[in-house]
Symmetry: C2
Subunit: 253 residues, 2 copies
DNA sequence: ACCTGAACACCGTTCAAGT
DNA sequence: ACCTGAACACCGTTCAAGT
């Protein structure tokens, strides 16, 4: 990113550093890291809808424009927050098998989202946040998939399948709750589920006790209060088994 | 939803209708449907970031508060927009097999997102938008999965796997582009991909020509300009094959 | 270099007033 | 019932001014 650091100063880092030393100033109270960390804390505490640069500045006890100096623009801040959240999803370097590798990676990603559910809506849906997953992560994943036998075009497929699958489930499991009127909204869902006519929706009604609040589109809580552990485990199994079959197919050249 | 129609009037529909007839008034220029349709048009044209109630009102040539009368609050409007977009994803009533059913469903969902990519960030990440998928859809999906042999707890798993899989890939494929500074942002990504050191990231560099702009987290365009057709097809295959294996496993009772 | 401080255009929502 | 119109508190960003 060309100007994700103080203004257009990115190419002048050495000069800036020298200036700082020369002037002997070490009284900087802010930094990009501090700003981003504070932003994450704000979002964790008060939700994405209530996040604003002004509230962030207030929490840092500075003027709103001081924040803008380190991270220019609201979008950049959110992108950096995603980056920070996903900075600890590094998959293991050693593993028993590529299946084992993927399993650990899926679980690690889910655990990370679980720690910061309010950030979930930003992940996967914003291309600017995609850079949050770094080259180390990508390299290890590609290496594991190569080890599974994927090469060339099929390696690309496998990579996309894994990333889409990894990000997709957990971001949906921890989907954002309505920011106001939650109580009424919840009651309304329960009411709707109670009133489903058995004649028109026999399979749904028959399995309602198993499905209610345990299945996508039939929930009034997200993964924080009603985790979908068993479904997630089955999901990971399905993707891995499917990949095994894909890996076993001949590689067309 | 208790008050998704004019104020707290929802239980008074008959009375209101009578009043309208009695007073002979048919000069309503707005309606909930008109408001939501206009909102979708605005989002399609100018993106989610530029959407506001005031711009919406301007496009309808009314005051901002007139909109609020039909759909109370910005969040409600967005939820209704998602509902409208997803109203045509109904899976087919007849099909050769449950595998065929799922294939058609996945493709239909992706086609729908492709038609309204700017809405993608709202789908799956907002619990309030989950009601967009109606009971007819759910019933047909559950019926197809029952036909595949899934019952009880495993039916719930299969349902969650399919919904998460269906929503996850396409919403990520059509992820939102940065709303400003796109040109610099794109150049920066390309620059970063050119500069990847082969010593540290051998697998990535080796497959770079296949991966760049064709793989998640390595793109500077979304599905609108750079569709991931082949990866999506492989993704659907993987999930279906995985489900076949899950279906074949014994149902623990 | 780093932050203050005022200013600007815009936002969603509330509330009173019209018809 | 349906919409106007003014008002309110808040927002992100720009730009000049301090040190």
């Amino acid at each position: 990113m060309p100007n994700d650091t103080p203004r257009a100063r990115s190419k002048l880092k050495k000069v800036a550093a020298r200036d700082k030393v020369a002037s002997g100033r070490a009284d900087k109270s802010l930094s990009k890291e501090v700003v981003v960390a504070a932003a994450l804390t704000e979002i964790d505490r008060h939700g994405l809808d209530n996040f604003s640069l002004r509230n962030l500045a207030k929490s840092l006890k500075v003027f709103p424009t001081a924040v803008t100096w380190y991270v220019p623009g609201r979008g950049q801040i959110l992108a950096e927050v995603v980056k920070l959240v996903l900075s600890d999803i590094m998959p293991p370097r050693f593993y028993d098998s590529w299946q084992h590798f993927l399993r650990l990676m899926f679980e690690g990603f889910r655990d990370t989202i679980r720690r910061h559910p309010n950030v979930a809506p930003l992940i996967g849906t914003q291309l600017i946040a995609n850079q949050a997953i770094d080259f180390d992560f990508i390299e290890r994943l590609l290496a594991a998939l190569s080890h599974a036998g994927f090469t060339g075009q099929r390696l690309v497929w496998a990579y996309n399948i894994v990333v889409a699958g990894m990000v997709g489930f957990s971001t949906q499991e921890f989907a954002q709750l309505p920011s106001e009127g939650i109580k009424d909204w919840r009651e309304d869902i329960k009411e709707r589920l109670r009133g489903v006519p058995v004649a028109k929706y026999p399979t749904l009604v028959k399995n309602m006790s198993l499905l209610r609040n345990k299945a996508f589109t039939l929930r009034w809580q997200n993964g924080t209060d009603a985790p979908l552990d068993a479904s997630f485990a089955a999901y990971v199994d399905v993707i891995i088994k499917g990949l095994e079959i894909l890996a076993a197919q001949d590689n067309p050249t």
